[in-house]
């Protein structure tokens, strides 16, 4: 019997014209691991919320939702509470009590279990999830990853048959996220719990899932095995495409360009690669086919024009000299001898693990904290955006929110007129593509839109240096692209951007320079390609997949371009004995063509 079945379910939120769900029908079988993907606002959360009785949103809905053949609405409260578990996005907001053990016991308390039974079950769960060491701790002492693990454990303790997770790792760093996914995978394997997970980071979950459900504008686009979904999504360029695993993207791009080519057709009969491992093997087979082994290295080492913007001027915007910092006297140094120089008009990405002091570094540049030794110098107006953008929203509507930037007259020229303010708000709304949301409450925007609004608000203060703390946290891949466009526009206007991020892929694609912060100092620094090309573990999936064939190819686009370069050569070899210089030009040409195509896509 199907565990969860949707029959022609439609749903519309109050005061909305467009349906959030439209005629959705599908079935999820016992013990399946289903990943739901789609851009934000595509109805993922609405769909997931329909699977649990008390979470069903308020609005007009039609159709039937069955849980093991029974209508969800008629389920007993007790059964619904214990058999269907739901984990939400924000780790902090879901925690109810002050102690870890109490939080674990919360669900069982509600079910009215005896003390002895709860004691036994919490002990079991604490052991299984590795919570035992922090069982008696206060919840606010935990890290984000631990908090989300606690949320998962306190749902799992009721032994649900279905586990629903709504973007559970959106607020976590990649390492904590990977751990979290592993735990979910283990639960699915060990207990046969049916898992329904919505996620933007498909790189990892794509390989774990039994089935993938892709959504767009409230409709199901495709619901099938990961491989077939991958093939389907790559066949037409949808917004979902950007979120796919790198191997799939590269495969699809290469294939779509040369579909007519006989050789490639041979390849396309194969399985399409999903993991890095499969991607490597596929690249190998490609290499054999093209038989251009002798050329590969020469081609790859030619410097393919970087799509990343480089600094236009040599002026220094921010300079840190031998900076030492610690929070309290008796604590250890968080920064010990940081030297950093940021040029005007570049985008510097600072990477590093949790607790490496990235956020602290930003605080020093802003001047919130002062170093106890060393110098921090910033030329121009520095404005930083906090990690939680909610921390700056004060008004009821988007429009007023932007207007709030002008309330403090001293920050602007006193001569500014009302018309000026209105026109600059208008301009900003259009620039950020928020025109249609001008009357919306900031809290009702999606994560990506909130990020945009926050940046808009900060931009109205006319900063010369913009500091961003984890700007891509909880944002879908499509929004990441438009965010990157905005940042690029800013840079072309001469704004210097420093961002701190865990998001390797994003930094690799858009930053002009990267620096790695470790153990209180900057351990490596360089232009993005050189930086990631030189790393072997801390690097992008595209680089890990292609490093044995192409040197310094960091992003998917670069790998695709390099692949095409190989084919161009392959075709040309038959004709004449071209010089390497010609080959280089060939490569460059293909890239410019591709870039042009990309620009067309963007516009």
């Amino acid at each position: 019997m199907a565990t969860i079945e949707f029959k022609n379910v439609s749903f519309t939120y109050p005061n909305c014209e467009n349906a959030a769900l439209e005629e959705v029908s599908f079935t999820i079988n016992e013990s399946e691991f289903v990943v739901v993907c789609g851009a934000s606002g595509s109805g993922k959360t609405t769909l997931l919320r329909h699977m649990k009785k008390n979470m069903v949103p308020y609005g007009r809905g039609t159709g039937d939702i069955l849980y093991r053949g029974q209508d969800i609405e008629t389920l007993l409260d007790r059964m619904s509470a214990s058999e269907i578990g739901y984990v939400q996005q924000n780790p902090d907001n879901q925690i109810v009590t002050d102690k870890v053990w109490h939080e674990l016991a919360f669900g069982l308390e509600s079910l009215g279990e005896s003390n002895a039974a709860i004691r036994k079950k919490t002990a079991e769960m604490a052991e299984y999830f590795g919570i035992a060491n922090w069982y008696r701790k206060n919840v606010w002492e935990l890290s984000g990853g631990q908090k989300q693990l606690l949320n998962l454990a306190s749902v799992m303790i009721m032994q649900p048959k279905v586990l629903i997770l709504d973007e559970p790792t959106a607020q976590l760093d990649p390492i904590a996220a990977t751990q979290f996914f592993d735990t979910i995978c283990k639960i699915n394997r060990d207990f046969g719990t049916t898992i329904i997970l919505s996620e933007h980071r498909l790189e990892e979950v794509f390989t774990m899932a039994d089935k993938v459900l892709a959504m767009d504008q409230g409709k199901i686009v495709v619901f099938d095995t990961p491989e077939k979904v991958g093939k389907f999504l790559t066949s037409d360029n949808k917004s979902l495409f950007y979120g796919l695993p790198s191997a799939l993207k590269i495969y699809a791009e290469v294939r779509s360009e040369y579909d007519s080519d006989l050789m490639i057709q041979e390849i396309s009969n194969e399985k399409c690669p999903i993991t890095v491992k499969e991607g490597r093997l596929w690249l190998d087979s490609l290499k054999i086919l093209t038989q251009s082994k002798q050329l590969e290295n020469k081609v790859a080492s030619t410097n393919i024009a970087s799509s990343n913007i480089t600094a236009s001027s040599n002026k220094t915007a921010i300079e840190l000299k031998n900076v030492y910092f610690r929070y309290e006297k008796k604590n250890q140094d968080i920064l010990s001898g940081v030297d950093l120089c940021v040029k005007k008009g570049e985008m510097l990405a600072i990477l590093g693990g949790n607790g490496a002091g990235k956020t602290t570094l930003l605080k020093l540049i802003t001047g919130i904290k002062k170093p106890y030794s060393g110098k921090v110098k910033a030329e121009g107006k520095v404005i930083a955006l906090p990690q939680n953008v909610q921390a700056i929203f004060t008004e009821i509507t988007v429009e007023e929110e932007l207007g709030e930037s002008f309330t403090d007259k001293s920050l602007h020229n006193n001569s500014i007129t009302k018309e000026d303010i209105i026109s600059s708000i208008e301009e900003m709304l259009i620039f950020m593509e928020l025109q249609n949301y001008r009357k919306t409450n900031p809290y009702d925007l999606s994560g990506g839109q909130q990020q945009k609004l926050a940046i808009a608000k900060v931009l109205l203060l006319q900063p010369q240096i913009l500091l961003l703390d984890e700007p891509t946290k909880g944002i879908d891949p499509y929004f990441k692209r438009s965010l990157a466009q905005i940042l690029n526009t800013l840079i072309s206007k001469g704004v210097t951007i420093v961002m701190v991020s865990h998001d390797i892929e994003f930094c690799a694609q858009y930053a002009s320079r990267c620096a790695m912060l470790f153990d209180g100092t900057i351990v490596s620094e360089g232009s993005t390609r050189a930086f990631f090309g030189g790393n072997s573990f801390y690097t992008t999936a595209a680089n890990r997949m292609s490093r044995h064939i192409f040197k310094n190819c960091v992003t998917c686009e670069q790998v695709v371009a390099a692949c095409k370069g190989v084919f161009e050569i392959e075709n040309s070899i038959e004709n004449t004995d071209k010089t390497l210089a010609d080959i280089d030009r060939n490569v460059k040409d293909t890239i410019t063509v591709q870039q042009r195509r990309q620009n067309e896509k963007k516009s």
Binding site: N93, F106, E141, A391, F393
Partner: protein, 329 residues
């Protein structure tokens, strides 16, 4: 009563960096070890009954000898539990009380037969001064017992003890303990965001600073309300509101607890019987007059002394036992 809670919260807002968090957790762990005594590891009911009876006897005895015992025992125990530093803090509260009661009492009460001197034709009598002194010792001892209470009855013990009377109260209190550090953390975040946006400058006027503060407060409220929707969803999703909710705790009733509670009840019963039977009764006015010392009064004094220092001895015994065990190992 929640000063200990406060200490932890002040250290709280983590997430700044792992580094700090580590330090903090280590500090807290150390503090807990320092404060966790053999006696505090007994069942909360034992802790509570002990403190309740000791405080009750201190208050009703009204006898200098009993108060001496109470004073020294509570002083010693609070030093052991809170450390010298902790006691110093309570001293700031204690000294004014002492001065106040010793001075005020004789000014308003002119009973007693032994005038010391006259103010505005009103006698300041020796009896009144002594009575004031007794009362202040009583107050100080009670404060010291409460300092011990603060350490012994932690938030979860409190919840366990009183959560049974009103089950939803237990949860509400636990949620409040969760909220306070969370709000602090959020406020800190908001404040830093305002600074980072250049909205909060040094040398701003009082009016402007108040304006920024109000804005920060409004952000905090909006943010927290928004977040509380998630919290209530999460509570409901885990079956909150079903009938027959239980309250989980980590305490186990052991044999030792039985022994302790019986002993406490017996000894304090004897004490209270002695006090009620006026075997330790003392009269301050018009002149000092104490009932003749009998066996009953000796029994009352001794049993109270035993009661008052029993946890100290128990803790010391526990320490010695560990030392012995360690040396054997």
């Amino acid at each position: 009563m929640q000063s200990r809670q406060g200490v932890i919260m002040e250290i709280a807002p983590e997430n700044i960096t792992e580094n700090i968090t580590e330090n903090i957790t280590r500090n807290i762990a150390e503090n807990l070890n320092a404060k966790e005594s053999e006696f505090s590891r007994l069942h909360p009911l034992v802790n509570f009954v002990y403190l309740a009876s000791v405080v009750a006897i201190t208050i009703i005895a009204n006898n200098p000898i009993m108060l001496c015992i109470a004073f020294f025992a509570s002083l010693l125990y609070s030093v052991i539990l809170c450390g010298i530093g902790g006691v110093k803090k309570t001293l700031f509260l204690v000294i004014p009380i002492l001065v106040f009661t010793v001075m005020i009492q004789p000014l308003f009460s002119h009973n007693g037969n032994t005038p010391l001197y006259y103010i505005n034709n009103n006698a300041v009598t020796l009896e009144s001064v002594v009575y004031g002194l007794t009362i202040s010792v009583l107050l100080i001892s009670t404060i010291q017992w409460f300092a011990c209470y603060n350490v012994l009855i932690t938030s979860d013990k409190f919840l366990y003890l009183f959560g049974r009377i009103i089950p939803s109260l237990a949860l509400v209190i636990s949620m409040i303990f969760r909220m306070i550090p969370l709000l602090r953390y959020r406020f800190n975040e908001i404040d830093e965001a305002q600074v980072a946006m250049g909205k909060k400058l040094k040398g701003m006027g009082l009016y402007n600073r108040a304006k920024v503060f109000m804005k920060e407060l409004s952000i905090l409220i909006a943010w927290s309300l928004e977040a509380s929707i998630d919290t209530s969803d999460s509570m409901e999703a885990r079956g909150y509101g079903l009938k027959g909710r239980t309250s989980f705790h980590l305490f186990k009733w052991k044999m030792v607890d039985c022994v302790w509670i019986v002993a406490i009840l017996l000894i304090s019963g004897t004490c209270i019987y002695g006090i009620v039977e006026k075997s330790v009764q003392i009269y301050y006015f018009p002149t000092f007059k104490m009932n003749e010392m009998s066996i009953a009064s000796y029994v009352t004094f001794i049993s109270f002394a035993i009661l008052a220092i029993s946890p100290i001895i128990y803790d010391l015994g526990g320490k010695l036992k560990w030392r012995r065990l360690n040396s054997k190992m």
